[in-house]
Symmetry: C2
Subunit: 355 residues, 2 copies
């Protein structure tokens, strides 16, 4: 839920647990957050780094160890406060600690608010592959407080906005799910002012994206079919992220997921045009946003073969070595399980690198 006051939203949840059975797992960037400090008095907490490079089994072990040292029982509550890397790690650790303890997500980045902290995906990177070990383990609740975004660096904001744009491209446009009267989520997102990023106009867009994602997840929690629409942009995006061709970096040097997804969406929109006859307009609109705000990917054409090989190993593939994408026929009309040949993947990369 999107809340206007994090304290009054958190209090009734914490009241359901014994006070000595609530532990906090917190992004170390929030060490000095005045919003949080009141909760740390007398409550166990651990501060964790949030680099993508530390989204590892070792960090999961640190969290497990912290739970054991806090004498957390199965009746306890883990409160995960931070970005998507942190909530993914804490969610996995909580779901596997003593066969599962409750986890509450408090996402503090736009990316985590609109994507990572809803839908129950948890996990970590293993053997250099993103989220290749993990679980579907929904949090007991997700408290979204846009106030965190006031101090979010612009690159982090844009990273989250890319996932919102993805939701706008794939959200099925039925009358009952339209974001604003007269047009859809995609148009509303294009109209939002990315220069001044007003929070009051952003809150309803966050709500619409979370609601769109929740509808999809409720219909297909374990990604057997429909949920794959949310993977739009991610087949290419994950490979670009794994090979570190992403342009946007956070202040701590972490590669930003949303930038990779934005580049991935351009490659996959190109394939949507070529293979499914999608109109060119969304591709042009997204390319304009890239040049105006995100910048081009860090292109090294010599990485082309490695990118294709990474896509062939993607966990989203139904068959070994066969690249699987979600594409769109038009905005709001996604098509899952599109098999891409290595040649087609190369063509889409060439297009992306030519921009």
């Amino acid at each position: 839920m999107v809340c206007t006051d994090i304290h009054s939203a958190l209090a009734p949840v914490l009241a359901r647990y014994d006070q000595d059975q609530v532990v906090f797992v917190v992004d170390e960037n929030l060490r000095s957050s005045s919003v949080l400090s009141r909760y740390f008095i007398g409550i166990s907490s651990v501060l964790l780094p949030v680099h993508e490079s530390q989204k590892s089994l070792e960090t999961v072990q640190r969290i497990w160890d912290f739970f054991f040292e806090s004498n957390l029982t199965r009746r306890g509550l883990v409160v995960a406060v931070g970005g998507g890397v942190l909530t993914d790690l804490a969610g996995f650790a909580a779901a596997t600690y003593k066969r599962g303890v409750d986890c509450l997500n408090i996402p503090t980045t736009l990316l985590a608010m609109t994507d990572a902290s809803t839908g129950g995906k948890t996990g970590f990177n293993y053997r250099g592959l993103k989220n290749s070990i993990g679980l579907f383990a929904p949090p007991v609740e997700t408290l979204i407080w846009p106030g965190w975004l006031e101090t979010l660096p612009p690159q982090q904001f844009l990273s989250g906005y890319a996932e919102m744009l993805k939701t706008g491209l794939v959200d099925v446009r039925r009358d009952d799910v339209r974001c604003t009267k007269g047009d859809g989520l995609w148009e509303a997102l294009l109209r939002y002012d990315l220069d001044t990023t007003p929070l009051d106009a952003l809150a309803p867009l966050i709500e619409a994206c979370v609601a769109a994602k929740e509808r999809v997840v409720a219909a297909d929690p374990h990604e057997d079919g429909l949920r794959k629409v949310l993977n739009f942009g991610h087949t290419f995006g994950h490979a670009l992220e794994e090979i570190q061709m992403v342009n946007g970096k956070s202040s701590n040097g972490k590669w930003l997921h949303g930038y990779a997804v934005l580049y991935g969406m351009i490659a996959e929109l190109y394939l949507s045009v070529v293979k499914l006859g999608c109109p060119k307009e969304p591709l042009q609109q997204l390319t304009r946003l890239m040049t105006d705000y995100y910048g081009r990917p860090q292109c090294k054409c010599s990485d082309r073969a490695a990118l294709i090989a990474l896509m062939q190993q993607d966990k989203k593939n139904e068959r070994a070595a066969q690249i699987n994408c979600t594409l769109i026929r038009s905005v709001g009309d996604p098509v899952i399980n599109q098999v891409i040949t290595p040649a087609e993947a190369g063509e889409a990369l060439d297009y992306l690198f030519s921009l």
Copy 2:
């Protein structure tokens, strides 16, 4: 399901998957099993040790690595063939690999057939605590073929039989779930000939135990309440196992779980008599089985305090440091969430060590 021919039971399950997407995780003791060898031609397999000491995160990593090296996708099947340690490890690795791949259990020990491979508990030992990291992740199917038991060492047989005795003690004795006309599972188990261990008379007892466990698990899959009846004997049993006071060892030196559970049941039957007025008869019957077949625990009274401390850390506890047991009012009438004081726990240990 209990089957009379493992090959004809396995074939239709394997047929549901692409052949290159089936991998075997096999107990290394079965290396030369003629039953299995036909499946290993052209199919990826890994042989794993099954010592309790190797029920570790490192072994889970070995299994994950094997899955990646086999190019297993999310549409694949993991076939776990072995005892409970192996099916617990393979089940956890499968449930977390790429957020979950199907797992088929083929238990080869009596313990795994009647307990570990049904009910979906998976996991490994961490920080010296049994199964302290894990998940509820039911297999797609469990194929029970009693033929494996022909070559099972007697200690392994007795270890499994102890878990069957536990099921007999806690299974609710309603007319519709009676094992044999006129009396219950407990009496039928006491009548079974442990000197000659005939397989034909054992098969219906295995079926009754699996059915009893499945009824409990279906009613409470995540152990929020009722399922705790299956923990009878395990609060003391796990502590005895962790401190290695178990008498029975397998040929490879592994401490046998069922022996620990049998000693644990004697301690918890003692508490059932003292605290809940349970008749003494089942305690006497179980003690007789211990002296006739299992032998006494390896008693070192100096470990008494350490055993109590271990029980206070048990993941089954609802509150930190409070020992939680399942006890029985009589055979077939279990009572969950009985809080035991350290003094009572000590008294039960004194009784057990005095036998």
